[in-house]
Symmetry: none
Subunit: 125 residues, 4 copies
Amino acid sequence: MLLTVDLQSSIPIYQQIRNQIVAQVAAGLVRPGEKLPTIRALANQLQVNLHTVNKAYQQLAQEGFIDLLGRRGAIIVQPSTKNLQQTKKSFQQAVTEAVAQGVSCSALQQLVIQTYQQLKAGKTV
Amino acid sequence: MLLTVDLQSSIPIYQQIRNQIVAQVAAGLVRPGEKLPTIRALANQLQVNLHTVNKAYQQLAQEGFIDLLGRRGAIIVQPSTKNLQQTKKSFQQAVTEAVAQGVSCSALQQLVIQTYQQLKAGKTV
Amino acid sequence: MLLTVDLQSSIPIYQQIRNQIVAQVAAGLVRPGEKLPTIRALANQLQVNLHTVNKAYQQLAQEGFIDLLGRRGAIIVQPSTKNLQQTKKSFQQAVTEAVAQGVSCSALQQLVIQTYQQLKAGKTV
Amino acid sequence: MLLTVDLQSSIPIYQQIRNQIVAQVAAGLVRPGEKLPTIRALANQLQVNLHTVNKAYQQLAQEGFIDLLGRRGAIIVQPSTKNLQQTKKSFQQAVTEAVAQGVSCSALQQLVIQTYQQLKAGKTV
DNA sequence: GTGGTCTAGACCACT
DNA sequence: GTGGTCTAGACCACT
């Protein structure tokens, strides 16, 4: 798993890690059933604190993206119907926010396509 | 301004108020430059506490949606480029989350169109 | 008086106007006793709403930078001891904020000099 | 953490608390990664309402000074580049305000040094 | 015990 | 009458 963290960003590091793992799933680079690196391994690889990675994993688990297996690591889970509906609601909310800022329908469509293609090309956004 | 709050929802009331005002802007029911109801008026209308409405207004102001004019009320502001870029980033993040949950590109496109039309028809989502 | 407004900025326009007038005073381009353009003239020049300029002038007056002469315009006032002390407090607070963010003493010194020289060269910052 | 509030001051109590915590960070009395007292503990210590302290913490979090960990308290965060640039802009604005009030460049320099030393000596300003 | 949320009631300065 | 601020007291979910 290839992740990078930007220590200069205003986005908290644990959030960056969480977002990039989600992006990797979106890109299909990791699939349901596959294992994530152990907290210790990822912390070591990224040169960040154990707690930082732990916080990212805890959030992903709470969101239903992964299952924590205790000492044996964590695995990506199959998306559940319940999570999917929650995700759709969030997506609709994001559409609403954008429209409120004056973004047009076609601009959103383009943004969807562009983002989708970048993800599938392995570029996390 | 026609808002409703669901006291049973797990979404905090102040957040519901905030979301619905954004949706009203997205629907074009209120436009930049127009005044929002006073905190007390809206609190009275929705039968919630003044502080709950105040919290929603404070958040909207901090997000750049409205301009608090002190005792003279609050007005919807013109979207700024900076906010717009932030909004696009958030939207791309929402696309990523959805794709990670297995939603297809065409499903997202449909969801964009459907949500957009509902908004323009005055249905807050 | 040469002012410019950035409609794309996330800083409210009235705030930009207010800041630039302060910067003009700092640069010595306008001096105590001198008249500011009328609200109507400035609004026309900048192609913004009367109320926007009015808000900037109201704030400047309330801060003690200018005296509103009603229909006869506004003039820059001599700095008062009371305002000066308030300004020093604000400046010390700004130093504190910067130091809290890890900015060194010498970096602040340099920033003072650099900003001062830019102002005196007529470059508003 | 040693804070004091002045109930007679025109500065809101929550703002005083916020400012003093920033000053403590500036003085190096609390460092990134360290925990802040719980809201209830600080409210009790200062003999103010829990909501007043909460408002200060919320503002600090929004400004990027602290990270709210939910029920596990709040910790001081590492300054980010983005926040730093914002802070520098604010500092330059403070220089401009002072120069507009007639403060000389050397007076500002002195004020920087003096404030810096007071902070490092543990005197919040 | 904790933070998050909500209500109820109060006082102030400003218009 | 208004927003800003503050207090007091309450319930909830989470640990």
